[in-house]
């Protein structure tokens, strides 16, 4: 119930925060909502000397859909804002749903989308959907101009990301769904709220008539990071959609994962659930697909 001692610094700009992080290194930790780092401090998993808070920096709560481009989520934008935004629910329903899957209302009213991916839990709810939608994380850095990291390259290990020391994620960019494109995230957990995913599968599909022009599938909770199921995608791409085809792809998705057994589930169960939820997620993506060019909605 008590936290270790630290000095709290409220940064005035992202550049200042990045600079401080670079300078203070591992003795410091950056805080947005704090819902990941406070429990870690309480459990003495981390004991930073400095906590650098971003929350007083203005202009970081962007939540905007730019037509022709996509969704921009600032690094202080809360999960709750994403979950409840009419615009996100209409244009990026899978992203709103994934945000809703995280923890509880209270955590989502404090925790941020960017914080969720930077925590890089293997079963994080927002990772898989951002991966399949080819999200890009725009960074800011003390020493260089910052870069763009593709979501699938961002997660490098359990609680590890591709961020360099002193590099912070400034914004998430998620390309909008075009005609004939759909996306979905399906989470499998025991409780209907406040539960880490046993596994979660996100799908993105682009249809051309009843042919799968392109697709991406990402699995969370079945490896050290959320991963793309390339072999599953290979089975589906360019083919006509059938349930039998999807079943084969789902089996492939399960086979490409290396889940662990822990207090939540066994590896064996996780693997089979990857199979089941690949199907469910893909079907949901098809269901939520934007109308194809020249076609009316069904």
């Amino acid at each position: 119930m008590s936290l270790p001692r630290f000095e709290y610094i409220s940064a005035k700009s992202l550049e200042e925060a990045a600079g401080l992080k670079a300078k203070l290194g591992d003795t410091s930790v950056v805080m947005a909502g704090g819902t990941d780092i406070i429990p870690l401090m309480k459990d003495r998993v981390i004991m930073p000397d400095y906590v650098i808070d971003l929350k007083e920096i203005p202009g970081l709560q962007r939540l905007e859909c730019v037509p022709g481009e996509g969704l921009y989520i600032g690094c202080l934008t809360k999960l709750r804002a994403v979950e409840t935004s009419e615009m996100v629910r209409k244009e990026f329903p899978a992203v709103a749903h994934a945000a809703h899957c995280v923890a509880s209302t209270q955590i989502r009213c404090k925790g941020t989308m960017v914080g969720n991916i930077c925590n890089a839990s293997p079963s994080c709810d927002t990772g898989p959907i951002e991966i399949v939608m080819n999200a890009v994380y725009k960074t800011v850095s003390a020493s260089d101009p910052g870069r763009e990291i593709l979501a699938v390259e961002f997660f490098t290990g359990v609680k590890k990301t591709a961020l360099k020391p002193g590099e912070l994620v400034r914004e998430i960019y998620i390309p909008q769904l075009g005609p004939g494109e759909g996306a979905a995230y399906s989470k499998h957990a025991v409780r209907k709220a406040m539960d880490l995913a046993i596994i979660g599968v996100a799908s993105w599909v682009k249809m051309d008539d009843d042919k799968i022009a392109d697709c991406r599938i990402a699995v969370g909770g079945a490896a050290v990071t959320p991963i793309r199921a390339h072999s599953a995608e290979g089975i589906l791409k360019g083919r006509q959609f059938t349930d039998e085809l999807l079943e084969r792809a789902a089996v492939a998705a399960a086979e490409c994962c290396h889940p662990i057994s822990d207090v939540r589930a066994s590896a064996e169960y996780r693997a089979d659930m990857v199979r089941v939820f690949t199907k469910r997620s893909f079907k949901k993506a098809l269901q939520d697909m934007k109308p194809q060019e020249g076609r009316r909605t069904e």
Binding site: M1, S2, L3, P4, R5, F6, E7, Y8, S10, G34, T35, I38, P39, K42, V51, D53, K55, E56, R80, A103, S104, T105, Q106, I107, C109, K110, K192, A193, M194
Partner: protein, 158 residues
């Protein structure tokens, strides 16, 4: 390290001198002498410590006191106005929506926050709003009923 924070607390402009590493729940209970916000788990999982931060429900054990600076904080002690109970509080009493009462302050905060943004929630929306408030006594049934009843009272402007 200690620093001064300035914030609104239950509608009153307030100043306090806080340690950096004090959590909001401990600050409220021990320094501001507002023990209505409860400590249930210390890890943001049970919701007993729920308060409102700028009108949104948050678990105060997952918040540093210093984060309150320049913000608006409401605790259970600030829900009744001038001694008049809020409709949510009245309905909790009338519908027997509490037993041991330990989850009740946090539950009421989540409920008041819900009705503030959604005056006509469905049963699912009520349950979703309080999904982060664990209760071990009631099975939630009468809590959901009380929140629905309060919503109706507020809508009718009674």
């Amino acid at each position: 390290m200690k620093r001064v924070i300035q914030f609104k607390l239950n509608g009153v402009d307030t100043e306090a001198y806080v340690e950096d590493n004090v959590t909001m729940v401990n600050f409220l209970r021990q320094q501001m002498h507002l023990p209505g916000t409860k400590r249930g788990c210390g890890e943001g999982e049970c919701g007993a410590c729920t308060i409102m931060l700028d009108g949104e429900p948050v678990t105060s054990c997952m918040m540093l006191a210093v984060e309150a600076n320049n913000h608006d904080i409401v605790t259970i002690e600030g829900i009744a106005k001038d001694g008049v109970l809020h409709p949510v509080q009245k309905e909790f009493i009338d519908k027997w929506a509490l037993q041991c009462g330990f989850c009740t302050p946090g539950m009421i905060m989540s409920a008041v926050a819900l009705l503030g943004r959604n005056p006509n929630p469905t049963e699912y929306e009520i349950r979703d709003a309080i999904a982060g408030n664990l209760c071990r006594c009631t099975g939630y049934a009468k809590i959901v009923e009380a929140i629905g009843a309060a919503a109706e009272v507020i809508r009718k402007g009674v």
